[in-house]
């Protein structure tokens, strides 16, 4: 670097080539995306170049380079964070809305179910909501499988009628 500061272009090119490997590793470790890391590497090289007069030859050169790289990295996080925040605002709203919808639908079902006789209600809950098989439901309620099927079928039919009534 000292020779570069005196205007030795060849020494400077060699220095930059040696540095790029270290800097690429530095940014790659901290940023997942290779293209962004490469952009930052180039920005750091340009910043080094345009602000090379701020290097004090009596101090360690690597400390100076990494101070610039660190500044670039922080600047990058500051910029990308701001950009990333915008699209994130909406999904939050969407999730909240869809949650509310699901909860409302569940409440509707519960309300309709309560109009059914207790036995039919339990059958429908077991088979249609909890997902038991007809055989399992039959065992649980000490009924025959066909009785379960008929019960569920009737229950659903009257639920359908109930939905029509509501509207």
């Amino acid at each position: 670097m000292v020779r570069s500061l005196t205007g030795d272009g060849a020494a400077y090119a060699e220095l930059l080539r040696k540095l790029q490997g270290h800097l690429r590793a530095y940014f790659a470790r901290r940023i997942g995306r290779a293209a962004e890391a490469e952009d930052l590497l180039q920005e750091t090289l340009i910043a080094m170049h345009t602000r090379r007069a701020t290097y004090d030859p009596s101090r360690p050169f690597t400390a100076w380079v990494y101070a610039i790289a660190r500044y670039k990295l922080i600047d990058h996080f500051r910029r990308t964070k701001r950009r990333a925040e915008d699209p994130l605002d909406d999904p939050d709203m969407l999730f909240a809305a869809s949650d509310a919808e699901a909860v409302e639908a569940q409440l509707d079902v519960e309300r309709l179910l309560h109009r059914l006789p207790e036995k039919t209600r339990k059958l429908i809950r077991d088979v249609k909501i909890e997902g038991l098989s007809t055989a399992e439901a039959a065992a649980r309620h000490a009924m025959s499988e066909s009785a379960v099927k008929v019960g569920v079928h009737r229950g659903l039919k009257s639920l359908g009628a109930g939905v029509g009534d509501e509207e």
């Binding site: 205007g7 090119a13 790029q20 180039q42 090289l45 007069a53 290097y55 004090d56 100076w64 610039i68």
Partner: protein, 214 residues
């Protein structure tokens, strides 16, 4: 653009860097600002009429000594903080030394003085405008220093802004002292300090935003 091409382009365009370029750049901004500020002081406030007689008395030199020592330490500090890897080092705590000295002197004078005079020693006759005038005279210097810093590479922006502000405030105070004819140490300790600190705070606030570089 490929990084190898970039390196080739950058190394094709390299001129020898001048030694102590940071100091020169800062001195340029400070100097231009100070000339504008001095012109403003002469046209707006005017140099005190009794400058020559006053120059024979110690309080006159106390004011210059106070502002110049803060400015010199501030310059040493900003010369370091304008670099990416800059640390304040010894200059950091040292910049408060003149303030400590000034406060000690003010307290000594206050204890010596009879009760009735103490308030007058603090308030003087221009306490209403002193800090404000210092802030106004500091503005051109503040602008000059920030212009310099934009071309350098500070990485601790708030701190660099605060130091640049303090330096601008101290330099503005130095210029103001050619106009101000107060001579009591307690007055200087309170109102000069207030003016310098105000510009320092402004620098800290603006530094974070204005000193960012790409």
């Amino acid at each position: 653009m490929r990084t190898d091409d970039l390196i080739a382009a950058l190394s094709a365009d390299i001129e020898p860097a001048r030694p102590r370029a940071v100091g020169r750049r800062l001195a340029l901004g400070l100097g231009i600002g100070a000339v504008v500020s001095a012109a403003l002081m002469v046209l707006w406030l005017g140099v005190r009429a009794d400058l020559m007689q006053a120059a024979m008395t110690p309080p006159f030199w106390m004011k210059f000594g106070y502002s110049l020592s803060v400015a010199a330490l501030g310059f040493g500090l900003i010369d370091r903080l304008a670099r990416p890897d800059g640390e304040g080092g010894i200059f950091g705590p040292l910049i408060f030394a003149p303030l400590g000295f000034m406060i000690a002197m003010a307290l000594y004078r206050l204890f010596q003085a009879p009760d009735a005079q103490r308030m007058a020693m603090v308030m003087g006759h221009s306490s209403q405008v002193c800090a404000r005038n210092i802030v106004v005279l500091s503005i051109p210097i503040f602008a000059g220093l920030f212009w310099s810093l934009k071309q350098l590479a500070p990485t601790r922006l708030t701190l660099a802004g605060a130091v640049a502000g303090t330096l601008a405030g101290a330099a503005g105070t130095f210029i103001y002292a050619f106009h101000c004819n107060e001579s009591a140490a307690p007055f200087v300790a309170v109102w000069y300090t207030l003016g310098i600190a105000a510009v320092g705070v402004v620098g800290a606030v603006f530094g974070r935003v204005l000193l960012r570089w790409q």
